[in-house]
């Protein structure tokens, strides 16, 4: 696949543009901070994005192995799931890869007529978006689960203390 080779050749430029686009969603003050401060503890958001994006991109070129690709997506989306984004905003960065590729490789695609390759790769990105959406939902569900757990734990220990809860399994056993 000619396109793939091009995509590999331009990996640095493309992943950088892609990152820029992801960061554009933040206020400029924050975007600059995320991009600059490289310490992984002082700036975990920026560090995660900076570190993950290129290997993630390379993995994507290899194919769409959900097992391999999910951890990358998870680390990025886990952050976006709790930031000020709507669900579409949180996963839209996947799609901006299409735009980046078109802009970075406009000439080559046109000259070598790589449209079919491009369409194929596009649909891979579409699939990726679906995985991203799943991960986003997992994160959100985790948050709801945590919320429920927190409230339940609070009530549960009260009930337990007040001796209002008996161990159902024991009672059941006795009855049986």
């Amino acid at each position: 696949m000619v396109l793939k080779n091009l995509l590999i050749q331009k990996k640095a430029a493309i992943s950088k543009r892609w990152l820029d686009m992801i960061l554009e969603a933040y206020p400029p003050e924050a975007a600059k901070f995320f991009k600059q401060e490289g310490n992984r503890f002082a700036n975990p958001v920026g560090y995660t994005l900076l570190r993950e994006i290129e290997p993630f991109y390379m993995e994507l070129l290899e194919g769409l192995d959900a097992e391999k690709i999910s951890p990358f997506l998870d680390r990025i989306i886990r952050i976006r799931a709790i930031q000020d984004f709507s669900p579409s905003q949180a996963v839209a960065f996947v799609y901006s890869l299409k735009k980046v590729i078109r802009e970075e490789l406009a000439m080559e695609i046109h000259e070598r007529r790589l449209y079919e390759d491009l369409l194929k790769f596009d649909s891979r990105i579409d699939e990726l978006a679906l995985i991203a959406f799943d991960i986003y939902m997992q994160c959100r569900e985790k948050i709801y689960e945590i919320r429920v757990d927190e409230v339940r734990n609070r009530v549960f220990s009260l009930l337990k203390r007040a001796n209002l809860i008996s161990d159902i399994s024991e009672e059941c056993e006795q009855k049986m």
Binding site: E29, K32, E37, G38, N39, F41, A42, Y47
Partner: protein, 330 residues
Amino acid sequence: MGLWFSLFAVVILTFVVFMGVEMGKLHFLFGLVVPYAAFATFIVGVISRVVGWARSPVPFRITTTCGQQKSLPWIKADNIESPHNTLGVIARMALEVLLFRSLFRNTKVELKNDPRLVYGGAKWLWLAGLAFHWSFLVILIRHLRFFTEPVPRLLGLFAGIDGVFEIGVPVLYISGLIMLVSVTYLFLRRVFIPQVRYISLAADYFPLFLIIGVGLSGLLMRHFFKVDIFKVKELAMGLVSFHPLIPEGIGIPFYIHLFLVSVLLAYFPFSKLMHLGGVFLSPTRNLANNNRMKRHVNPWNYPVKVHTYEEYEDEFRDKMKAAGIPVEKE
């Protein structure tokens, strides 16, 4: 907005003095009245600001501790980062005031095997801040030679060291150069670091431009326009000895320099530049972390409504008795 306004203000100020002296021949105004007024404003202003702060009491001892407290004898206490006595406080304040200890903290975080280490902002802020403040102090001390006759030998020596590279005639002072470079850096970071630009006000740009103006005019009149130093000294000595006089023929760059310095002095007490005095008064830094050893008294401590044990027992007495919890009143 703040940036352009401040730049504009400094340009206007320069223009005012230029026109005033060149066209209006207001040497008397700009050479004597303004400096005196500015100096008076500075002194009265700074004192009243500091007194104003000091009039508000420190009700609580709210030290920010940055190190191990003094507790058990076998645990090594950090008497500088978490001072437990006056000596420690003095050491902490000295590090803070002389070396900008807290700002320096920014630079500590480096991990070796991390490929993407970009440590712009933080370290440079400390370095530039330190360079700026120290060079400013050196320049200030060096200027004392205009206000003393005879010039103390120590001062001469001081200036000698400052001009040790002997570049140009008259020699270029390192301090002047350092100050201009560092203050320019402090300005540029305000413009180019988005977070800092976002928080910057006219009150942040104005003093920077003013100081750049002071520095540039000083540099220009020393090295390019060659203002008559002896006449400047005559004027300066007149000012300090309260026998003011205006020698003829001091060039306009001097008046610009003097006027910008006057503006800086007059502006000082009304501005954030008061951090000069404030840093000494900061309760999170200048108090010892000896809270549990020595009682701190709050001068306005007033009685508050509390829920007393009696009220509490009155409400729960029956339940307490039923549960076998001892009570005061049966």
